[in-house]
């Protein structure tokens, strides 16, 4: 009998993350492929394969398996979500460009925080460029770094603005959109991320829709409530798209998912303190969510059952 080759520890750990039943059925084959693939790249190859198997395991555990429509929806939502994130960076980048001195003035801890935030605001447009070029690994890397830096900025923000009223809201609103968009990019299966004409059209429309409100706001600076108007737009998109969602119509669900990170960032601001607008938005979001859940769970009629629609 041929001896079984030694499996490096990073690969063993990654394989352990697979659901038990799945690992029992496919673990041996996955190990075999990973060992052969890693052999060509050496030690770095082992880590790359381990990272990819980890991502695959997490997708399976999140219900984004190969036979699940959710995986298709996430793959459709991830690129527009990056476009929306990049659009929301445009305003701040324009503000920095107008007054670069604000990056250099003030306390040292404030400067560190501003530098981290500047890096976040540069990473998302970079991720969008990578998406446009079809460089998905680079796009995921930029999105992942953007999300990681957003998390790193939390303690920095707390240090700088310790006595700020509503600090929790500020922190959540400032990190949630980036972290959620980063997770969305990581969750999208690579083989379903496409650069077909249909995908490019959807991405172009989202990019324009993401940039125009911020560009208008940059040209005509307005008071605080109006500064949040572009994010309010995404909240309206989420509610409308959820209301249009249907079992055999996945595009509205993907659009709602793409706009959700920025919309939630806006909704959080309205929840502290909870006033009438916040309450109304919560009710609308909940109602749209219920409508979407009921319509997507409803059993398909025989006429609807065939084919893969809207994909």
């Amino acid at each position: 009998m041929t001896p079984v080759p030694h499996t490096p520890r990073p690969l063993t750990r990654a394989l352990r993350l697979l659901p038990a039943g799945y690992r029992a059925e496919h673990g041996s084959e996955l190990t075999s492929i990973a060992l052969q693939a890693a052999e060509a790249d050496g030690r770095l190859g082992v880590w790359r394969e381990a990272a990819d198997i980890t991502a695959h395991a997490l997708r399976l555990r999140a219900g984004l398996g190969p036979d699940k429509a959710a995986a298709r929806i996430v793959a459709m939502a991830a690129p527009p979500a990056v476009a929306i994130a990049a659009g929301s960076c445009a305003n701040t980048l324009a503000a920095y460009a107008r007054q670069p001195s604000q990056l250099l003035s003030g306390r040292a801890d404030l400067q560190v925080l501003l530098a981290v935030q500047l890096a976040i605001y540069l990473l998302w447009p970079a991720a969008l460029v990578a998406v446009w070029l079809g460089r998905w690994t680079a796009a995921r890397l930029c999105a992942g770094l953007g999300a990681l830096l957003a998390l790193i900025s939390v303690p920095l923000l707390a240090l700088v603005t310790l006595d700020l009223d509503g600090l929790h809201t500020f922190v959540v609103a400032g990190t949630l959109p980036w972290v959620l968009t980063g997770l969305l990019m990581a969750a999208a299966p690579r083989d379903m991320l496409g650069s077909s004409l249909r995908h490019r059209r959807a991405l172009a429309a989202t990019t324009v829709a993401a940039l125009v409100p911020w560009a208008l706001h940059t040209l005509c600076p307005s008071p605080l409530p109006f500064q949040l108007a572009p994010q309010a737009l995404w909240l309206a998109v989420v509610i409308t798209a959820l209301a249009w969602a249907h079992r055999n119509r996945t595009a509205p669900l993907a659009l709602a998912l793409a706009a959700l990170p920025q919309a939630l960032g806006y909704a959080v601001v309205l929840l502290h303190p909870l006033h009438l607008t916040g309450q109304a938005i919560l009710v609308l979001l909940a109602a749209a969510g219920v409508v979407a859940a009921v319509r997507t769970r409803r059993k398909a009629t025989p006429a609807q059952a065939g084919g893969i629609a809207d994909h």
Binding site: I53, D191, H311
Partner: protein, 116 residues
Amino acid sequence: MSDLHLQEPQLLLLTALAEAPRHGYGLITEVAAISAGRVRLRTGSLYGALQRLVHDGLIRVEREEIVDGRARKVYALTELGSQLVQEETARLRALVGELERRVSPRSSVRTRSATA
């Protein structure tokens, strides 16, 4: 059939299988070769893609074998997968033909004389 919109990695996998049935690592190397090194599928991504193609009825597990003490599956195109590859080939051929027609020197001369 037209409801199935293939993304590039999926089309590359089907192309790799159009010639002959292959096992997992064979597909990784073949996809890298077909795409001139541009698309390098890793194990998890490959496995997810293969299972999705099996689920969609485009490929099937032809046989299972044991190599170096580990199980490995050999994948092959199904009739549906084969038909889809032929349709994609015809579509891409028509597109390339149209591109060649439009960028050919004779076409450029015609365009210049039309604008003059």
